[in-house]
């Protein structure tokens, strides 16, 4: 890096130092609108929600404004309830299953689309449809497709003699969670495909050509060129993917309402129902805060692991 000279100016401050200070100011100016936005829109709600978890917040509070402090009562009442274990387990299974499915299928499809073939652009855009359609409509359609008696999936499977009795996709407590995961994967694939594909497009063609000369193609090329180059994108996709999946409420409620018999009840659905069905807002906020801690733990853990790997 060449020095741009240290000529003194009339003000006595070397131009370079003045330039640095100016640059630092501009740097913060680049950041400022975003920071202001975040603080304005997220600061108050986050704090309020954190506090609400320790309050007895009911519908009356909306009018009177009084919410007595109850300390850890909301948290302990949730954690000691008989549903807590099921809820945590469902959340874990739902999240792991969804991410594993969405990411691997998304990566595979993104790799597939690296080839240039007729209609690839059109097909890639159409792939966004599951994410684009209103969730209400999507959930209803999946409910009909998965209906045990008259759903088109069961009729097809029976017709092809792949099963002998109709499968209770959503009406059996044992199967419902997996069916919901399948639908969530379906919705999440476009998200993963788009981001991973965009990331791959940034890898110059020469890298692959150079590697091909050394005989590295296919899987080897993926491992040594594609994957390392995608690392930052993959980090964002996975961390945000987990965070978004932990928050999912609409799909689950649209498909099963959290049932049957709480088989698809997660932390997020419990928090929602506590607040907006039972009007126990303090309880709902407490469960939300638990969810936030889980998200933070995951994000922190993943970033730590990632940093260690990239340091190697």
């Amino acid at each position: 890096m060449t020095l741009t000279g240290g000529q003194a100016t009339g003000s006595g401050i070397p131009r370079r130092t003045r330039g640095l200070r100016q640059e630092r100011a501009v740097t913060w100016l680049f950041l400022l609108p975003a920071l202001i936005y975040i603080v304005l829109f997220f600061g108050y709600p986050i704090v309020k929600n954190a506090v609400m978890g320790s309050q007895d917040y009911t519908t009356a509070t909306f009018y009177t404004g009084s919410a007595p402090w109850v300390g850890w009562a909301n948290y302990s009442s949730f954690l000691s309830s008989s549903l807590a274990g099921t809820t945590f387990l469902n959340t874990a299974v739902f999240t792991v299953g969804s991410i594993a499915g969405q990411f691997t299928i998304g990566l595979a499809i993104a790799l597939f689309f690296r080839r240039r073939f007729p209609l690839s652009g059109l097909l890639r855009s159409l792939l966004l449809l599951p994410w684009l359609l209103p969730l209400i409509a999507g959930a209803a359609v999946w409910r009909w497709i998965l209906d045990q008696d008259s759903g088109v999936l069961n009729s097809t499977l029976l017709h092809l003699h792949l099963v002998h009795t109709s499968v209770p996709w959503l009406s059996s407590p044992g199967m419902a969670l997996y069916s919901v995961i399948i639908v969530n994967v379906w919705i999440g694939i476009p998200f993963n495909v788009t981001l991973l594909y965009s990331g791959m497009q940034g890898i110059p063609e020469e890298h692959y050509e150079a590697a091909a000369i050394d005989g590295a193609v296919g899987w080897k090329a993926f491992r040594h060129i594609t994957w390392p180059a995608l690392r930052p994108i993959v980090t964002v996709v996975l961390v945000l993917g987990v965070i978004y999946t932990l928050k999912v409420v609409d799909i689950i409620l649209g498909l099963t309402g959290g049932g049957p018999a709480n088989a698809t009840q997660t932390l997020a659905t419990t928090a929602y129902q506590d607040s907006f069905v039972r009007f126990a807002f303090g309880q709902g906020a407490a469960v939300n805060n638990i969810l936030l801690v889980v998200s933070l733990l995951f994000a922190g853990l993943y970033l730590r692991v990632n940093r260690r790997v990239s340091d190697e």
């Binding site: 920071l35 936005y37 997220f42 080839r115 073939f117 792939l127 940034g202 063609e205 936030l292 933070l296």
Partner: protein, 271 residues
Amino acid sequence: MRLTKRRQATSTVIGIGLLAIMLFPVYWMINTSLQSGNVGASSTLLPLHPTLAAYRLALSQQGGDIVTSLTISCGTVLLSLAIAAPAAYVLARSRIRGRSVILLALVITQMVPGIVIANSLYPAFDQLGLLNSRLGLVLADTSTALPFAILIMRAFMVSLPGEIVEAARVDGAGLVRTFVSIVLPVSRNAVITAGLFAFLFSWSDFLFALTLTTGTNLTPVTLGIYSYLGGEIQSWGPVMATGVLSALPAIVLLAFAQRFISVGQLNGAVK
């Protein structure tokens, strides 16, 4: 990746097959929207007596809503990108104190359920007179899209080869100049992808649309759909028709935008 003509054709076939499986539920949506009467329990595999009644109803009632949604979504994209792009660049390339804190804060904002934000915005917007306004919804939707846009664009910009930026600095370009003339054009993929998601977030937003309007004049299409399901009688035909109709302009826009995500942005830049 160049393929032989034959492999290209095979790929196209596989691609279509893949999409057929992935989009079957979308087909079902269109299928039921073309059938009259009790959709759901009595829908057949193919629309044997197709009728456009649901579409006519949906267009007459939701047509304006689609325009509203388009306006709001485009506004969200512009605002989000304008704020996010500079921030992402700084967070990717500059060494500033508190960078990790800011990144962590951005990730934390994504953990907050939307309804918590919506509930806090309602009284604030009410006082500022931003309820029932397109501007209000653009501001609210941007709050959802902004952190994500920053994080995504930052991830792309981190991978920028340092040489091109250095070259510009050597030539005496300041931060702004570097950003506008060098970084942005090279980060085209990142900006378009982030814009795409900002559009999607805003287009499919239901929560802010519901909370920040009072049911009178401003109804984005997500809200319009909900009105068919509000009462005890649920008319799914118009819901499906609205869903399909609302997806069309969005798909066209996104297909258009995706064309600009091309390969080899940096080809030739680092020579």
